[in-house]
Subunit: 137 residues, 2 copies
DNA sequence: TTGCGTGCAAAGGTTTTGCATGGCA
DNA sequence: TGCCATGCAAAACCTTTGCACGCAA
């Protein structure tokens, strides 16, 4: 755990443990707050945000921007598993979030860097569009 | 102008005219409000949001989600120019927005549809990462 | 005249911040 | 003991909504 400087606290450990226990799952701050309330071990809103920000800084979790007006999502991404290099597609109609594992996109990552000098953080990027069902329906 | 049903008003015309006069430029609602205040022809916040929403519905402009907490951006996209099919990269460090015209990405669009059934709305998608300068600096 | 568009103000939701308290080392 | 983390409440933002008034047709 590189860069960890401060103290270790209950809120901190339980938050990170929960995120790690649900790899690839997107949680909003509100959902996390509710989860720990249900567990009988509530964590204050401010603390949740502060810890999430720290985790992001330390690289433990990813923060996702799904849309303006919608709240931010946070998720632990297993560095060893395939999901570390997968992509997210969000259907603008039904709102579903699709996880995609795709080599072609990985190629694009290379292309963006080599031809445009842009180091793409694919974990953070969300592709907007229409999913298969909504497109046909 | 398909689908236009209501009245034509000053606010409506000036807003759309301004957006069309700055194709490809991203404006936030606050920036637009300030612009018209500076012009001496202020438009109420609610009206700005309502008109922008209408323009998006009618397909005149695009709405961009840059990040949660940041405000939404709106821009007129010239349907005839190349910028109708260009892509956006946002540097997470310096915050700059890069407009990219790239055939490889257009290929990806095809790939996503054919292999994953996902109809990607590239105009709305923002690639997060590090720009050339920030990557080297 | 009819009814849509406007503007103000208030509400709604998410995220941040100030400050005193509590807990880790 | 010293300092960081917590939690509450308040603030800060962006955006939406209610409502009365004004303007387009």
């Amino acid at each position: 755990m590189a860069g960890k400087t401060g103290y270790r606290t209950r809120a901190q450990e339980e938050l990170l443990a929960y995120l790690k226990a649900t790899p690839g799952v997107h949680h909003t701050a509100a959902e996390l707050k509710e989860h720990f309330e249900d567990e009988g071990a509530p964590i204050g809103t401010a603390t949740i945000y502060r810890q999430l920000e720290r985790f992001v800084d330390e690289g433990h979790i990813q923060k996702y921007f799904i849309g303006t007006g919608e709240s931010a999502c946070y998720a632990f991404v297993d560095p060893s598993a395939a999901c570390s290099s997968h992509f997210h597609c969000k259907c603008e109609q039904c709102g579903s979030l699709i996880h995609l594992d795709c080599d072609e996109l990985r190629e694009i990552q290379k292309h963006l860097l080599e031809h445009h000098g842009f180091l793409w953080n694919s974990g953070k990027t969300v592709f907007y569009g229409l999913c298969d069902q909504c497109r046909k329906g």
